[in-house]
């Protein structure tokens, strides 16, 4: 069983005086384009769940009227993955480098080079460790998809073979064994 990583990253978003939301707009546009489907994470087989949020402003406690505020906008990236963070980052970069450049590339301090190594270093510089993590189940993404598929395959088999004779049952089972043992797995995000 692979270990589970909870990655939490907060990166500052560049805020330019002459173009107040130029970079942030690029991020928003990119996120919107990938919101429903075509998710860059779908090709990273280790990602369970991921979210990206733009933190426009920190919310002070109710009743704090001192005007406490952050001076920069931040991008929150929280992700639950199997295995090591570096493997995930490399995978994401390989699948969709443009996405990385259009999101984190717009943040303050991201070097002006292309290459997964800079992405890894940047995320490392912005990530926070030691969360209290909770995982509802102890499976990798691949195992989860396998088990879910098996569940549906078995349900279909049982339903389709109600009231069959023992002989027919055995014959059908022999035929369907392989479908159950090694079913065609759905791509992540399509189950």
């Amino acid at each position: 069983m692979t270990d589970h990583s909870f990655l939490t990253v907060i990166s500052p978003i560049e805020h330019r005086r002459n173009d107040p939301d130029g970079r942030e707009a690029t991020i928003r546009k990119t996120l919107l384009a990938h919101e429903q489907d075509d998710s860059p994470f779908a090709d990273c087989p280790m990602v369970h769940m991921a979210r990206i949020q733009i933190l426009d402003q920190a919310v002070p406690p109710m009743g704090d009227t001192s005007g406490a505020a952050l001076k920069t906008k931040y991008l929150l990236f929280a992700i639950d993955i199997d295995g090591r963070v570096d493997d995930f980052l490399d995978s994401l970069y390989r699948r969709d480098a443009d996405f990385v450049h259009n999101v984190w590339g717009q943040c303050i301090g991201y070097p002006d080079f292309r290459g997964a190594v800079f992405f890894r270093r940047y995320i490392d510089a912005c990530s926070f460790s030691n969360p209290l993590g909770y995982a509802g189940f102890d499976l990798s993404v691949g195992d989860t998809l396998l088990m879910l598929t098996r569940k549906n395959v078995l349900a279909d088999f049982v339903s389709a073979h109600q009231g069959k004779s023992d002989k027919e049952l055995q014959a059908a089972w022999r035929k369907s064994r392989a479908d159950l043992a090694t079913p065609n797995l759905p791509k992540p995000e399509s189950f």
Binding site: K151, A155, V158, S159, A160, Q162, G163
Partner: protein
Amino acid sequence: MSSTTINTKDIQGIFKGFGLAWPKGRFFFLNYKSDKAGRALLKHLCPLTSFHDLKTVKPDVCVNAAFTCAGLEALALDNDLLYSLPEDFRDGMRRRASINGDAGDSAPEHWEDIWEGHQVHLWVGVYARTDAQLKDWDKAFTTWVSKTKGISIVGSQDVSRLVSSPDVPVYLEDKDSQPQKPVLLEHFGFRDGIGNPPIKGLNDKHITGGGRINAKGEWEDFPAGEFLLGHVDTNGEIPVAPKPDGFSRNGSFMVLRKLEQNVDLWRDYMKGQAKKLDADADDIASRMVGRRRDGTPLMPAHDDFDFKYSSDPEGRVCPLGSHMRRTNPRDSFGADFGSLLVDRHRILRRAITYGELVPTGKTQAEVNGEEGQGLMFIVLNASISRQFEFVQQQWVNYGNEFDQGNDRDPIIGTQCGHDQMVIPGDNAAGRETMVCDALQQFVVCKGGDYFFLPSISAFEALASDAQGWRR
């Protein structure tokens, strides 16, 4: 403002329910052209029958009434009041079709015409002891309406109670499943009207098994606020309600759905499954419903009300996917939690059947032709979205919380043609698993809407010509 004692004179009679004492009924759906005509109608209907009346006066004819959102708007009420109405109510049932699973045959485009274009402003439910009394009232009322300008009856629906009798067979194949004692029936031949939550301060006596289960595992009655506005609910709060307090207090939201029951289809399907599974059709039917025909629970029980599900977490005795277990899961989610996760989603049902009973061996067409059979399904709750819609959507048309995946309620769920219900087997008891596949649309919604059921005093205030809540 809240009080622990509830003024039953202020609450409409439907809260108590018109049981077998008033077995005949007629629903009128009315429209009024102006606020003035509306007030005339309300005034004519006063006084409505109260909860208190049903217990003491016991009139021959009982009248209750409730408004749709269009009906309240047509009364030219103050904007403050109208804007304080909750959005689910303002949307109405038609716009909430996707939440309630009203698709396919139940889709709003197939509903009866009266539900189109917000014509229905007021529901008037009339319940009588005998047919003759009902006819008299009906005649007087329709004459009055025809004479009064600006008021029209856009639709009406006869309803009546069905009572089982050993002479009228309602079983499928097994004679023994016929209810022996006379019980209130619905058209599929099952006992109806049991399992409603008892309400603190309204019920005469505590009913073990109907209410909620506290942390100690004991049964408790529900606080009134879950069903009656202006009172404390199970969270210890007064639920959000329309303003002002006088308007909503002792009132409630009412969901009315006309549910057509395809008795022939149901019986054929059950027999077909029984043949396929080499099993008893009545047994399959009762496992789908979750109770026997006469209301006996499948779970070991003290009586028809007092039983729990937590001893059967896998649904091998009473299937988790059965209609009863879905709509009132009791402590299905674990003995540790009691009914904590269920309490906020309970509903008070005040349904009444329409159409004649179809005895076994006859078809619906033979009994009453085109008219059809079914249920005027009525729900009372404090929040339509939290209670009725939640049950409909999360418990009836979705099975996650019962470990049923996407499988829907076999009786009233929206079926797509390839849906199944799994009745788990039990190796210890030597009972085989039954998978009922290709479930059919046995119950079709033919229309309905969300109503506001005001208190007696609020109804009278709305009827009065004083400026009151008008704009």
